[in-house]
């Protein structure tokens, strides 16, 4: 007999050591998230996966599942707060979807669709974040970085390289690469790295591959993000 908690009234089984979001996604229930990735250690920074556990709000990616927990996720209150967080991410960077190669495959965009975000609402910061096109095969467009640290974790924990890291503090937090010049070309980054394919937005992009998939056939044109749940990464790569 497996242990269960309830998510919006439905029983969700879990194994010891699983977090709420891990168990939920495994059981096919979507909880919005950006910095969570099933292959990596939880980070807990984007806060989109915040749920109510027995009435208390907490990030479901860092909260261990426990027998009998009552978890609420798809509520208007939580979704409206998640929408506000998504809007914050949009105004913090420069997210111009029409000219972004990742549009249609972007998790930030797809999450915003899911949350019915019609506008970024806040005043835009329009930060100045120059591109790094130094690498022969990849380019970095920092304008779109949401500081989820997935590339940091992938490079460190899977590739064993530490190509990426977060630097700065507060609103000046930003992604850096492991080179004195600050340029990707001067790191040991390679196209085969896990870090090369893990970015949920359009920061780490292969060169010479422009808008290869026509509109209508991209990942999230076909289905909304909640239909992919945690298998979306695998399906995309098929």
């Amino acid at each position: 007999m497996s242990k269960t908690f309830t998510l919006d009234g439905k029983d969700v089984p879990f194994r010891d050591g699983q977090t709420i979001i891990e168990a939920a996604l495994e059981a096919g229930h979507y909880i919005p998230h950006l910095c969570h990735h099933p292959d990596f250690k939880a980070h807990g920074s984007c806060k989109l996966c915040t749920v109510k556990v027995n009435g208390r709000q907490t990030a479901s990616c860092t909260m261990q599942a426990a027998e009998g927990q009552v978890v609420e996720s798809e509520t208007e209150e939580l979704n409206s707060e998640r929408r506000a967080l998504t809007q914050m991410l949009f105004v913090e960077g420069n997210h111009f979807c029409p000219s972004c190669e990742k549009s249609g495959d972007c998790q930030l965009q797809a999450t915003a669709y899911h949350l019915n975000m019609m506008t970024a609402h806040y005043d835009h910061f329009f930060p100045n974040r120059p591109l790094d096109a130094s690498h022969p095969d990849f380019l970095l467009d920092f304008n779109r970085c949401i500081l989820c640290s997935l590339c940091v974790r992938a490079s460190r924990d899977v590739d064993g390289k530490n190509v990426f890291a977060l630097a700065g503090r507060g609103i000046k937090s930003h992604l850096i690469v492991n080179a004195r010049s600050g340029k990707l070309a001067d790191t040991d980054f390679s196209a085969a790295d896990k870090a090369a394919s893990v970015c949920p937005v359009g920061v780490i992009l292969p060169k010479r591959r422009g808008f290869a998939v026509p509109i209508g056939e991209r990942t999230f044109d076909k289905q909304p993000i909640d239909a992919y749940v945690d298998t979306r990464i695998a399906r995309k790569e098929e």
């Binding site: 997210h95 111009f96 249609g104 965009q109 506008t119």
Partner: protein
């Protein structure tokens, strides 16, 4: 016997710093334009050639704010329209024109009119007829209160139709996954 004609709502549209793509997409509602004109009367719009906006129920704004004239038109719309709608990426987040924002305006003007080949040495245009550019391109909600947002670059004809029919029927506009696009 005909039912008494329902009072038509007045609709105005304008393009600020945009490419008219949203207006082109508006025309993509095709034969549904006939249905639309049963419901609305057009005020200022490229479709009517009326130059000044009058009292309206709905104003559709395409494009962001790039210069002083954009601000005048937008304020005029806000003043005259009961419901103001930001249509398309540029109105909503500045869009393509706003990609100049990280670069100081004086650098842009110098490069275009003073230093680089092309218009170089022609001097920066200073005719009083020309609107002056703003330091940064702004989405319209940063300058006036906006009631609704219809994203897309452009929003498809179907999205515009769905949005307008919802609004005209007094429903909260809802696009759903198929019509919701930022690109």
């Amino acid at each position: 016997m005909d039912a008494p004609a329902k009072k038509k709502l007045r609709l105005a549209t304008a393009t600020l710093a945009g490419c008219f793509g949203c207006h082109m997409s508006f025309l993509d509602i095709d034969e549904r334009l006939f249905d639309l004109v049963e419901l609305v009367e057009f005020d200022r719009s490229p479709l009517t050639d009326i130059k000044e906006v009058g009292p309206c129920d709905i104003g559709l704004i395409e494009g962001g704010l790039c210069n002083a004239e954009n601000v005048h038109v937008l304020r005029d719309f806000r003043k005259h329209c009961r419901i103001l709608v930001a249509v398309g990426a540029c109105a909503i987040n500045g869009g393509l024109p706003a990609q100049r924002n990280p670069i100081p305006l004086h650098e842009i003007l110098s490069e275009v009119y003073l230093t680089e080949p092309g218009l170089a040495h022609s001097g920066i245009p200073n005719d009083p007829e020309l609107p002056l550019p703003l330091n940064k391109v702004h989405p319209i909600h940063e300058v006036v209160k906006v009631d609704y947002f219809l994203p897309g670059c452009p929003p498809s004809g179907d999205a515009i139709w769905k949005f307008l029919t919802d609004l005209l029927a007094g429903r909260e506009p809802e696009l759903g996954h198929a019509l919701m696009h930022y690109d």
